[in-house]
């Protein structure tokens, strides 16, 4: 695989840094967020939520609330118990998977704090809020389990009726799969064994637009507007959950203010708003507060990860064993159970492990349920393996990049089938790393680090490395089938040729900030030779885009974009006989370029016929060849043959004040290989935003609960999103090894930054502090935790080797000082 230069764009649209089409509206406030919707007679919903993590509802009195001014109705779980069905989980990861029923409104028991127990339907949001205070609920508190390890021990049950907190155990073993050797043998024969346990803290996606739902029951269909990433999935799931005909439901995702996986869900509130609209016959709106969002919109990550890495004395890795304990929270949401499993194929990452075993134990607790959050399974895997490679390098006393290079797949070895059974189509880790080192000034920074160590500088410098890859472009349907996922991974597109020469492109992937309107226009402009400005991209309304699988998993471009290409090419093929007729030539003698059919060999200067002219001819249909259908429009549904595998090398320099624990990011360089780029501006934007989300996991963010199971970080005062003052400007660059699995040669980019950056930052923090004896800090690495780790290390004898340490008292284990609880 050779590196190609960024393509010379010439007149081509693909590759240009087009300014986005969608921005004009967004920068002038001409927006349509769900909460902007005002419909005649619209009613407003207020949810009443449980303050307890686990309790029986012994009495629920709504009399006073119902009598309050402006209140139309109050619905409880008992009122809708036969109507509400159970919220869907689309991913039973094992045939034996256990899960409790998941009512939208709790009926007799609540299993997490924030669970809905009643809904007030009122004339205004204010009247609803006032009345919600009057709903009188008696709870009998039950023992709650809010610690993941305690839950795994099954002492207190999150759902007593299940008899266990264990939802499912999912295992991949390279011997059983026939993809590699026996990991236990590798561990037995290892010269070097690295065993570590890492914590993936609980995070909250924190999209900026709070969730909002409007349901209009007037008219033949229920029209549901929702701030969702998945209008198509939502429509189907609502129909199945509520027993309503799918054709009677239209879902619209208007402007959606970010999602990051957090809006990849079928929510209780969507179901309840639907039920409320059906109950009252009036349009109903629910719009959440930020506190409600942090409490009850699904959370992300939350795992314990145990890893054992076997290697030879020369640093060659020989085996990797992974055991995850993954916190489901109280219920299984849409893909809750599958998220940690998505990491199964990524722990081996870019390295040539001959033997691999992965186990994931999914566990229930009395906490908000977890589900997709940017990267979904892959950041967890990447964090763990990139931390382990650093640990191995430390163990061997070698440079972390050198140890990685010794073990990674060389550029001439692609395509490469990994020990997890995936075929990586392309990549060049050497090139990305070389470029990143150059931009970073790797050698110089290492020299400075040595000087500062030598002089005992109060501010120590740490250099963090992350050479990541990820699988994206979810997903080949047969792979999803093999993983027991409840749907396929294809995407749909239509191209409509309008008589005026304009083009409408309909895409099944529903954008919420990714710039599909711009990127798809660029793609179609090249395919059809029509001006960028003449293309309108439509999405996010199931009545316009009737078929689709929406936006997540870095899939839009490599799956949805490919569908757009396929549909465009069908248009050209449909137009070919018409062009032959118009030009009085044979079809085989025609060529199509820059939007025109011309006759081969007829020389320069011939006019030919434009595709847009043919669109008008077809519209008039006065003179078409016999038997020709008067239409050029075409549909395509594309099912990817493989994932795509972007990769990159991220280097981070952190300065740590060893007296205060304060850390400052000095520089961050990333060189990503996302294949060919449609719009570099958009790609860079995705990287920047992704980086900050990953850095935030490393340094700042954590959803914290108290012992009673109450969320402490329930507002933006306590759940600390990074600000402009916390962050720096990044140095980004790209290498290009085109993907061979789609016509664009593109690889997904939506999650890359998030996946790569967390380990780069934590590795940098630890690299600064290792000479002080610090071997681990649990994320987020706040100043307090860093300081505690330094203090703790100062009072502990240094251990020379990383002995297996899965016992309480062993070194490297997270000490109580550094483990959770404080921000």
């Amino acid at each position: 695989m050779t590196i190609t230069e960024e393509p010379q764009t010439g007149n081509r649209e693909v590759g240009r840094d087009r300014r986005r089409k969608e921005d004009q509206r967004l920068i002038t406030g001409r927006t349509r967020w769900t909460d902007n919707m005002q419909l005649p007679g619209m009613l407003h919903l207020t949810m009443v939520r449980s303050p307890f993590a686990h309790a029986r509802i012994t009495n629920l009195d709504t009399t006073e609330a119902k009598a309050a001014p402006g209140v139309i109705a109050v619905l409880t779980g008992a009122d809708v118990t036969d109507l509400q069905g159970s919220l869907p989980n689309a991913w039973p990861v094992t045939p034996e998977q256990k899960a409790p029923p998941h009512p939208a409104i709790a009926v007799d028991r609540v299993a997490f704090s924030g669970e809905i127990v009643a809904v007030v339907i009122a004339r205004s949001a204010a009247a609803g809020r006032d009345a919600a205070e009057l709903v009188d609920v008696d709870y009998e508190e039950l023992d709650a389990v809010t610690d993941l390890k305690a839950a795994a021990a099954d002492e207190v049950l999150a759902h007593p009726d299940l008899g266990t907190n264990e939802s499912a155990l999912w295992v991949f073993d390279s011997v059983e799969a026939g993809t590699g050797e026996d990991v236990e043998a590798a561990i037995r024969d290892a010269d070097v064994l690295v065993e570590r346990e890492f914590r993936q803290q609980r995070l909250i996606p924190s999209f900026m637009e709070p969730r909002s739902v409007v349901v209009d029951p007037t008219g033949e269909q229920f029209v549901l507007w929702s701030s969702t990433q998945v209008p198509h999935i939502l429509r189907l799931m609502l129909a199945l959950t509520l027993g309503v005909s799918e054709s009677k439901i239209r879902v619209i995702a208007p402007d959606v203010g970010g999602g990051f996986g957090g809006k990849l869900q079928v929510t209780p509130e969507e179901v309840i708003t639907f039920l409320a609209a059906r109950h009252t016959g009036k349009p109903c709106k629910w719009n959440e507060t930020r506190s409600e969002s942090l409490l009850s919109a699904h959370h992300g990550r939350d795992q314990w990860q145990k890893l054992t890495l076997a290697a030879r004395a020369d640093g060659t890795v020989t085996g990797l064993k992974v055991h995850l304990t993954a916190n489901m929270g109280a219920y299984l949401g849409l893909v809750t159970s599958g998220v940690p499993i998505l990491g199964a194929f990524m722990f081996n990452a870019i390295y040539k492990f001959p033997a691999y075993r992965f186990e994931c134990q999914n566990v229930f607790t009395n906490m908000t349920w977890t589900d997709a959050y940017r990267g979904a399974g892959r950041p967890e895997a990447t964090f763990a393996i990139e931390r382990m490679m650093d640990e191995l390098a430390t163990e061997l006393g070698r440079d972390p990049l050198e140890v990685r290079e010794q073990n990674w797949i060389k550029h001439e070895e692609f395509p490469f089938t990994t020990v997890a059974g995936l075929e990586y189509d392309s990549g060049n880790y050497e090139a990305a790393t070389a470029r990143a080192k150059e931009l970073f000034g790797y050698a110089e920074l290492r020299a400075e680090q040595a000087r500062r160590r030598e002089s005992g500088d109060r501010v120590q410098l740490g250099i963090g490395v992350s050479t990541f890859t990820e699988m994206c472009g979810l997903a080949p349907s047969r792979v999803l089938g093999a993983l027991s996922y409840g749907a396929g991974g294809w995407e749909h597109a239509s191209v409509r040729m309008l008589p005026s020469g304009k083009v409408e492109v309909i895409t099944g992937s529903s954008a919420h900030g990714q710039g599909h309107e711009t990127a798809w226009s660029q793609i179609v402009a090249d395919e059809l030779g029509v001006p960028f400005e003449d293309i309108e991209v439509l999405h996010g309304d199931t009545q316009i885009s009737h078929k689709g699988l929406d936006t997540y998993g870095s899939r839009s471009l490599v799956v949805g974009g490919q569908a757009v290409i396929a549909a465009s090419r069908k248009v050209v093929e449909k137009a070919r006989p018409l062009a032959a007729h118009a030009l009085e030539a044979h079809e085989d003698d025609l060529e199509f370029s820059a939007g025109r059919f011309t006759v081969k060999g007829a020389g320069e200067g011939q006019e030919g016929v434009a595709l847009t002219d043919l669109a008008l001819r077809v519209f008039a249909a006065h003179d078409l060849p016999d038997g020709t259908e008067p239409g050029l429009d075409a549909d395509a549904t594309y099912d990817p043959v493989n994932f795509s595998y972007p990769h990159g090398t991220h280097l981070c320099a952190m300065e740590i004040d060893t007296e205060t624990g304060e850390s400052t990011m000095r520089s961050y360089v990333c060189v990503d290989d996302v294949g060919h780029v449609v719009n570099p501006l958009i790609v860079d934007g995705q990287i920047h935003g992704g980086l900050v989300q990953g850095i935030a996991q490393a340094l700042w963010e954590e959803a914290v609960y108290d012992d009673q199971g109450t969320l402490i970080t329930g507002s933006f005062v306590d759940y600390t999103l990074p600000t402009s003052a916390d962050t720096i400007s990044f140095v980004t660059d790209r290498t290009v090894t085109p993907s061979t699995t789609n016509d664009l040669g593109a690889k997904g980019v939506g999650e890359a930054g998030t996946i790569a950056s967390t380990p780069a930052v934590v590795n940098a923090v630890l690299d600064a502090l290792r000479p002080l004896g610090v071997t681990d800090i649990v994320m987020p690495c706040t100043p307090e935790r860093v300081w505690n780790a330094i203090q703790g290390a100062a009072h502990q004898p240094l251990t020379e080797s990383a002995a297996p340490h899965f016992e309480e008292s062993a070194p490297n284990q997270d000490t109580p000082e550094t483990e959770g609880g404080t921000l």
Partner: protein, 159 residues
């Protein structure tokens, strides 16, 4: 109900509001100025930022009655007809928005920042945009846009 009068984006309005009505709700719900949005309930996110008598305020942190007699500019009143303001132009040119939810607040805050300091450096911009949260962009391009608007007053080369 209290009677209030204010000028919003150049138009005078006289209305009756409940005293507890926040300025942002008055703008959105009574005046239909839905360009201004709400992102939190603790005055942390800045999505609701507007100008009140020429200075940026978080409109979720001001009661409508407090703005009585005042002059309010929202994101909808920033462009001069079809002509974007330099900050709006720079936001588009620098790809300083993705989902666009934080954008109205960002643009209002940046406009006020540049009025205060027409030639800020990166550090100044980062410190003074701190009250506005964005989850999409990582701030990189927002900071770039503010600096570009400061530099040229217009966007750079258009693609």
């Amino acid at each position: 109900m209290t009677k209030i009068s204010m000028t919003v984006d150049g138009v005078n309005y006289q209305d009756e509001v409940e005293p507890r009505t926040l300025l942002v709700h008055y703008l959105r719900e009574q005046l239909g100025k839905t360009g201004t949005v709400v992102g939190c309930d603790t005055s942390n996110c800045g999505a609701c930022t507007v100008h009140l008598d020429g200075r940026s305020v978080k409109s979720c942190n001001v009661l409508a009655v407090q703005a009585d007699g005042g002059e309010v500019t929202t994101i909808e009143g920033v462009a001069d007809g079809e002509t974007l303001s330099p900050v709006q132009e720079a936001f588009r040119d620098c790809h300083a928005l993705q989902c666009g939810y934080c954008t109205p607040g960002m643009i209002m805050q940046a406009t006020d920042l540049l009025r205060e300091n027409p030639s800020p450096d990166e550090d100044y911009v980062r410190q003074h945009m701190e009250g506005n949260l964005c989850r999409c962009t990582g701030y990189h391009n927002i900071v770039r846009a503010v600096l570009q608007a400061a530099d040229a007053g217009t966007g750079g080369e258009q693609a």
